[in-house]
């Protein structure tokens, strides 16, 4: 059963935030989930460039799971977990689809593919995140954003 994420400050000092929830294909809930994460990121003092990067990668990963992982499972939710502290934002998005081989995704910047309208989500995640790792099945992605030194 899905529920709204409720990031809470942890007991540690400096603070940490985390959430774990499932999310169906509902743009209002996707935006709410993104806003909750971004609120924690802002509270932790990440700058606007970091907030832009984290939001973009988080939403692309969710939509990848819902659109591609669940293309035949429209009402099936994805599972999301994230943790945020002053140095690192870690996001795990897991869908219930058959998975895919991220190494098999063609380069959308190839001149022969530049005019294709899809296939840029993974490129953007890799560009903005410090780490983008898929599990062996290819249905779960771990995104890590390391705070840049100012």
């Amino acid at each position: 059963m899905s529920h709204n994420p409720q990031p809470r400050p942890g007991a540690q000092d400096p603070p940490t935030y985390s959430a774990s929830f499932s999310l169906s294909d509902d743009h209002t809930r996707i935006h709410a989930a993104s806003n909750d994460l971004l609120k924690a990121v802002a509270d932790l003092g990440y700058n606007t460039a970091s907030q832009f990067a984290i939001r973009l990668a988080f939403e692309e990963a969710i939509l990848n799971g819902l659109r591609h992982g669940h293309k035949a499972l429209t009402s099936t939710p994805v599972q999301i977990e994230w943790q945020a502290d002053q140095n690192t934002i870690t996001m795990n998005i897991t869908d219930q689809g058959p998975g895919f081989d991220p190494k098999g995704v063609p380069d959308p910047t190839d001149p022969d593919r530049i005019e294709l309208p899809s296939g840029r989500g993974l490129l953007l995640m890799r560009a903005y995140m410090s780490t983008v790792e898929y599990n062996d099945k290819g249905n779960s992605v771990r995104l890590v954003y390391t705070r840049p030194s100012d």
Binding site: H27, I30, H31, T48, A49, F52, R55, L56, E59, E60, L63, R67, P108, T109, I114, E115, L116, P117, S118, R120, G121, L123, L124, A127
Partner: protein
């Protein structure tokens, strides 16, 4: 013409159709679909479209929005028209650079620069 629920501000001046987004975040696929449909309708109603899309109000966009821009680009090319993009926030411009779409689209700093570039 765009409906009352349009997600665009549209005006046509001196043969150039100028489009601005109402939404600050172009992320939701239903909205992106609507935006694409509205702009393609404008293109189809013009013999040789000259279209300027301003991103002045836009803070975020998704890869799906980029896909719709590519579809718009191809529709305009198919009618021997011209497309210009302008007023793109530096963070969003970086998305165009990462995806190399800055090499596909003609992007200008200002709307005035974009208008002057139409032939």
């Amino acid at each position: 013409m765009p409906s009352a629920q349009s997600r665009l501000r549209v005006r046509k001046e001196q043969g150039i159709t100028r489009v601005e987004f109402i939404d600050r975040n172009i992320l939701d696929e239903a909205n992106i679909q609507q935006i694409g449909d509205e702009i393609i309708s404008l293109i189809l109603n013009d013999d040789t479209p000259k279209l300027l899309i301003s991103f002045a109000n836009v803070d975020h966009l998704s890869s799906a929005a980029l896909g719709t821009l590519i579809t718009i680009h191809k529709k305009i090319e198919g009618k021997s028209g011209q497309l210009r993009l302008a007023n793109i926030d530096p963070q969003i411009h970086e998305v165009f650079v990462i995806t190399k779409l800055n090499m596909l689209f003609q992007i200008h700093d200002t709307e005035d620069d974009a208008i002057a570039s139409f032939t």
